[in-house]
């Protein structure tokens, strides 16, 4: 398990080159998430939520500004170092499960361990899947699982290395209410158990409400930052 790490985003801007000229997705976003806390990022479609998360995950470099995960400034790392960072310290969950269709549920989770250089770890994966209620499905290929089951496998893959930071982009976007709740429970439980920092991009106010903090983006800028009102 990696040590808990906070996230610091300073004046991050992200522009895309298009035939019609540059398009600004993020316009100088600054925020901080303390280690072990959870943050919900909300906002209308196209406001830059997913881009902000991709920049935090090192999937996309910022055009300007800085991103720190713990004491590492991820925005200054090389691509190779960013990959290693994701492999070792980050857990990523997306709206689509993004499981590899030719691997069983167990293998999809074990892949994450293998990416870290450990060819074993099946028992740990099986245990985690069992904890997530997927003990009977571990040898199934993804196309034999329901949407909720696939997303739970994806969450297991993200959590198996006990990351210090969990980044989730619309993790419940394609799930029904019951499955949504179950997935959010899983993420929060993991955050709680490991002390990881959790950032969730969501449209769903009920998901946002369950986070420690939330902020709202519009046109690539933070328009509101608050501790959500608990129901």
């Amino acid at each position: 398990m990696s040590a808990p790490a906070g996230i610091s985003v300073e004046a991050v801007a992200r522009e895309y080159a298009t035939p019609a000229g540059p398009v600004r997705a993020l316009g100088g976003v600054t925020l901080g998430v303390e280690a072990g806390r959870s943050l919900a990022i909300t906002g209308p479609s196209g406001c830059g939520k997913s881009t902000l998360l991709a920049v935090m995950a090192g999937l996309e470099p910022p055009t300007s500004g800085r991103v720190r995960i713990g004491d590492v400034e991820i925005s200054r790392l090389s691509e190779r170092e960013r990959t290693r960072m994701r492999r070792d310290r980050l857990g990523l969950v997306f709206q689509s499960d993004n499981l590899l269709p030719f691997m069983t549920a167990l293998e999809n989770v074990a892949l994450q361990i293998a990416l870290g250089g450990d060819g074993g770890g099946y028992e740990r994966c099986a245990r985690l899947l069992a904890e997530l209620g997927l003990a009977d499905h571990s040898d199934k290929l993804p196309d034999r699982l329901s949407g909720g089951e696939r997303q739970r496998v994806a969450v297991a893959a993200a959590l198996i290395n006990q990351p210090s930071v969990i980044l989730a982009d619309e993790p419940t976007g394609s799930l029904d209410d019951a499955n949504s709740e179950a997935v959010v429970d899983l993420l929060l439980a993991a955050q709680r158990d490991t002390g990881a920092t959790l950032v969730v991009v969501t449209h769903d106010p009920s998901v946002a409400e369950r986070m420690d903090d939330s902020l709202r983006l519009r046109d690539g800028r933070i328009v509101e930052s608050a501790e959500p009102a608990r129901a």
Binding site: Y16, S50, T51, L53, A54, A57, L59, E60, E79, R80, T83, R84, R86, R87, D88, L92, F94, Q95, S96, N98, L99, L100, P101, F102, M103, L106, E107, A110, L111, Q112, I113, A114, L115, G116, G119, G120, G121, Y122, E123, L141, D143, A157, D169, E170, S174
Partner: protein, 1025 residues
């Protein structure tokens, strides 16, 4: 709708290019082959007629002329036939034949001869006896005499104008002449008539007759052998340059002597020679005006017998006189000789007008050119009906060339057909790869209210655009590539009409087949319900061809075609002959069999490949294994049909390219092997007839110039022996060789001998000096077996003639070095001892370096060395190859190979690239997810590269395997084209190049694909549902 499709194509350039590239290359190859056929076929007329010695020979039926004539009239129910001899010599064995044509019939016992009753013979008219309708023999009709024959007829039905059907022949003019024929035409009259025929370039008169041995003398010297007396003028010599005057010239009233004749009578220009001519009391004395080398004069010595037109029957002792001398002296003498009762002339004069057709006016297409020469031949036939017969060599040759061109076109078409099929396959494959990306767009359109008919129309427009653009572009590229390979001058020799037809054919066929390949799967996809689609998106969807066992069906069909062909003797077709107008036959179904086997073979290979990959061992829990290998093995095992589909594309292209390279290489080797077989070895040195020296077998040592590994002397002539079997005897071509030297020099194969190896046969001949080898069919016809003792008359018709007994030590089928065949092979030392002849006819030499350059060096060394002082005619296997007469074996297969190789390489690269970019399209989310989860770029690169390399390698392996089979089938089909059985040749460098390119294409495509991956936005892709 149209504008949506247009925007779709323009705004997705990568997808559009991927869809068009396969079609373009496939149609490019197919159209290239069609243009290549046009260009190659256009030069076939020129190529076919180039080696022709004589275009047309118009032979006089009655070269001796004479005044024998038959008039026939019909008067009141009677036919009256009047025979008149208007000449100055008697006509002997005069036969008159006549039979009334229906509805008229002969009235029994009505025939009269000079007014007296002529009895019926066997109840039939004496003028039409027996089943053969033999005529009545009048005996001798003296000069100025007239004989009248009559017979009555009755009619059995409607009256029709009576036909005059009488014919007359005599010992002097054996060809029956029709009644009421015009007076016999003379050679000058015939030449004048023929000269005015459109399409005729020149008409030259030629007459000759063989005189008995000893007919040529000078002083005390006599030419011992048969003498041929020719009559032609200087115009003839000018039109047929193989008649080489080496000293003096041709002059009226003089004789031009062949080099051998001059040597035998020891006279040169200025000397006096005497010719004894049958029927003439005193010898003809003529001054010799010059000496000529006639040893290669094919127009003079080609056989005039219809069944031996290709035989060069050389008569060394020849004398040429002017036509005036021949007409005024030889013809009357022979006329007198034939009139003499009891005279038995072995040869009668032959007179012909040799017609040179205007070759520059012949159309480049052999079929059209044939129509032109046939028109000339028809006009020739009308020039003197009943008085001449025509030997139409040029039409026979063009007929073969036309048939060869048709076979060549068919053969090339079948070689090009895979191009069209590959275009269809690549189109279908690309469509399959792009289907997943289009499915989403189609779903969106449906959600927004598009009907299925809208989607169908859009599909039709899109298909039409891809197929149309690909076919047009492919045809343009095909034309361009043929232009580069053949050159503009050759390509544009073809008529504009045929080029336009080829272009339209390629565009039409290309559009049809690729549109079909693009449209059908996409339409099927549109017609299905979403649930069915999802079912098909399983990890290992089994292709339809596997379910239908198409691979086994195709291979079985090819096998059945082969078995039927073998049983039907299709591979044992007789060799073609340009003189008899007989072309090689190649049934179409045989050409189709390799194409069917090609497709079936690749599908079977891919079935095997899939079976292997689906059983790949993957690490079992609790091990995942090394990350790249772990992912790759699981992907291959559980999605084995994905690389298998890629393997089909690469395998088809590689099999086609490799098969073609092997076929061409074998074709070349077989042609070279045939040329070497014809020559006898690498080099054949024949002492020139101009050489006054004797060339004993030991002369071989003088020919050991630098570059020559071995030389051997050979004695061989046509019909120079008589082989006497237990029941029969026959004239045979005998060859005498030094067995050890011949074995070292000539390329001997065990297949040339019956029941023993080449080494054993030569050893037997060497061990037994009184041993002979006999050719199989000769042995069969004379009932001779190995071990028999037989008599052979050696050096037949010469002063060295000798009868000896030999033991048959072996039977052979054929031997190298004797294009006109040899029937008996004797030991040279025994031959020399028996005949006391010390003259070798030619020498065979094996070169150290058999390449064209090496042979050219040896030929130059021979000419500069022993040939400088003593003229030698040198032929090498390279020069024999260039003189190849068959227009089919002379096809520009290399040009075709260049064309196909270019497209094979491009299509291999395209197939691999389409596969890799297809993977990219289908799996980009998978790859991006892996990157997001921490897979390094290099690891991802290794993953893509691993799969691409596997497809490249397995496609290569399957392609080479199937290509070898394909080449074997194609070579097998072409067996009738060659003298020797072709054996498959493996061109290592071409195959290695092809393999290297396939792998390089896989590597480059994988690198490019991963580079593109880096440019994709992971945020967008990972959010796709």
């Amino acid at each position: 709708m149209l504008s949506y499709v247009r925007r779709d194509l323009v705004r997705n350039p990568r997808r559009t290019v991927a869809s068009i590239v396969g079609v373009t290359l496939g149609v490019g190859l197919f159209s290239g082959v069609l243009f290549f056929i046009d260009g190659s076929g256009a030069s076939m007329t020129k190529r076919a007629v180039a080696p022709l010695a004589l275009d047309m020979q118009v032979v006089l039926n009655a070269p001796l002329g004479g005044g024998l004539r038959l008039d026939e009239q019909y008067r009141a129910g009677r036919f009256v036939l009047t025979v008149k001899n208007q000449g100055s010599a008697p006509a002997n064995e005069v036969v008159v034949a006549d039979e009334p044509s229906p509805p008229l019939s002969y009235t029994h016992d009505s025939a009269t001869l000079n007014g007296k009753a002529l009895p019926d013979v066997g109840g039939r008219s004496p003028l039409s006896q027996g089943l053969a309708g033999t005529g009545f023999n009048l005996g001798t009709v003296g000069p100025g005499a007239t004989v009248t024959l009559t017979y009555a007829v009755r009619t059995a039905g409607a009256r029709a104008p009576p036909q005059m059907q009488g014919r007359i022949s005599s010992r002097e003019n054996v060809v029956p002449a029709p009644a009421n024929a015009p007076p016999p035409i003379t050679l000058p009259q015939l030449r004048a008539r023929l000269s005015s025929i459109p399409g005729v370039a020149a008409v030259d008169g030629l007459a000759f007759v063989d005189l008995p041995p000893g007919s040529l003398r000078a002083g005390g010297a006599t030419a011992k052998d048969t003498v041929r007396l020719f009559a032609f003028d200087s115009g003839y010599q000018k039109h047929y340059p193989s008649i080489r005057v080496v000293s003096g010239g041709m002059r009226p009233g003089s004789a031009l002597l062949s080099a051998e004749a001059a040597r035998h009578v020891d006279r040169g220009a200025g000397g006096i020679v005497e010719l004894t001519i049958p029927g003439r009391r005193a010898p003809l004395t003529l001054p010799a005006s010059g000496i000529a080398d006639l040893s290669t004069a094919k127009p003079l010595f080609y056989s005039r017998k219809s069944n031996k037109l290709e035989e060069f029957l050389y008569v060394p002792d020849s004398v040429v006189v002017s036509p005036a001398t021949f007409d005024s002296i030889a013809i009357p003498a022979f006329r007198a000789a034939t009139a003499t009762r009891g005279s038995a002339l072995k040869s009668l004069p032959l007179a012909e007008a040799d017609v040179l057709v205007k070759r520059s006016g012949l159309r480049s297409d052999p079929g059209t050119a044939l129509a032109q020469t046939k028109a000339v031949a028809a006009a020739v036939g009308r020039s003197a009906p009943g008085q001449v017969y025509l030997i139409d060599n040029i039409s026979n040759t063009l007929q073969v060339a036309r048939d060869d061109a048709r076979i060549g076109k068919r053969m090339f078409l079948f070689l090009g057909l895979p191009g069209a099929l590959l275009a269809a396959f690549l189109a279908a494959y690309t469509a399959g790869v792009l289907a997943s990306t289009q499915r989403r767009e189609q779903a969106n359109l449906r959600i927004r209210g598009a009907h299925r008919s809208h989607l169908m129309r859009m599909l039709a427009y899109r298909t039409l655009a891809f197929a149309g653009a690909g076919a047009l572009l492919g045809t343009a590229i095909g034309l361009l590539s043929v232009l580069v390979i053949l050159g503009g001058s050759t390509l544009f020799e073809a008529s504009a009409g045929s080029l336009v037809a080829s272009a339209l054919g390629a565009i039409g066929f290309g559009m049809l087949i690729t549109a079909f390949a693009l449209y059908i799967p996409a339409r099927r996809s549109l017609s299905r319900e979403i649930t069915q689609e999802r079912g098909e998106m399983a990890l290992t969807p089994e292709p339809a061809w596997r379910r239908l066992r198409l691979d086994f069906v195709l291979l079985a069909a090819a096998g059945v075609a082969e078995v039927l062909a073998i049983r039907g003797g299709a591979f044992d077709a007789p060799p073609g002959s340009v003189y008899s107008g007989q072309a090689v036959t190649l049934p179409s179904y045989l050409l189709l069999a390799p194409v069917v086997a090609w497709f079936g073979g690749i599908l079977l290979s891919v079935r095997t490949f899939q079976a292997i990959t689906s059983r790949l061992p993957i690490p079992n829990p609790p091990r995942f294994g090394p990350v790249v290998r772990g992912i790759l093995l699981r992907s291959l095992r559980r999605r084995s049909w994905v690389p298998a589909s890629g393997t089909v594309g690469v395998g088809l292209v590689v099999a086609f390219g490799a098969g073609l390279a092997m076929f061409t290489s074998t074709y070349d080797a077989s042609k070279a092997g045939d040329a070497r077989f014809t020559v006898g070895s690498d080099v054949r040195a024949t002492p020139s007839v101009l050489s006054p020296k004797v060339h004993p077998p030991s002369y071989a040592s003088k020919l050991r110039v630098p570059g020559v590994a071995a030389v051997t002397p050979v004695v061989s002539k046509l019909e120079n022996s008589v082989l006497i079997g237990p029941n029969n005897e026959d004239r045979k071509n005998l060859t005498a060789i030094d067995p050890a030297g011949y074995q070292r020099t000539a390329g001997l194969s065990d297949s040339f001998f019956v029941g023993r190896s080449a080494v054993a046969a030569m050893a037997a001949l060497k061990a037994d000096r009184q041993g002979i080898l006999v050719q199989q069919s000769s042995a069969e016809s004379l009932s001779i077996k190995a071990g028999d003792r037989v008599q052979v008359l050696l050096a037949r018709g010469t002063k060295q003639q000798a009868l000896r007994t030999f033991r048959v030590v072996g039977i052979f089928k054929r031997l190298p070095g004797f294009p006109q065949g040899t029937d008996v092979v004797a030991n040279l030392s025994a031959y020399v001892a028996a005949t006391r002849s010390n003259q070798a006819d030619f020498f065979l030499a094996r070169a150290i370096d058999p390449s064209h350059a090496g042979l050219a060096r040896v030929a130059a060394a021979l000419r500069a060395g022993p040939g400088a002082a003593d003229p030698l005619n040198i032929e090498t296997s390279a020069t024999a190859l260039n003189k190849d007469q068959s227009s089919l074996t002379a096809l520009n297969v290399h040009g075709l190979l260049d064309l196909n190789s270019l497209y094979t390489l491009l299509m291999t690269a395209a197939a691999v690239a389409i596969f890799v970019f297809g993977l990219m399209l289908q799996r980009r989310r998978e790859y991006i997810a892996l990157r997001a989860r921490g897979l390094h770029a290099r690891e991802l690169q290794a993953l893509v590269l691993g799969e691409a390399a596997l497809v490249g390698l397995s496609g290569l392996a399957a392609g080479l395997l199937v290509g070898t089979g394909l080449a074997y089938l194609m070579v097998h089909i072409l067996r009738p084209l060659f003298i020797l059985d072709p054996s498959l040749t493996f061109p290592v460098s071409e195959i290695v190049t092809l393999g290297a390119l396939a792998l390089a294409a896989a590597l480059l495509s994988a690198l490019a694909a991963t580079a593109i991956l880096r440019r994709l936005s992971p945020t967008e892709i990972l959010r796709e549902t």
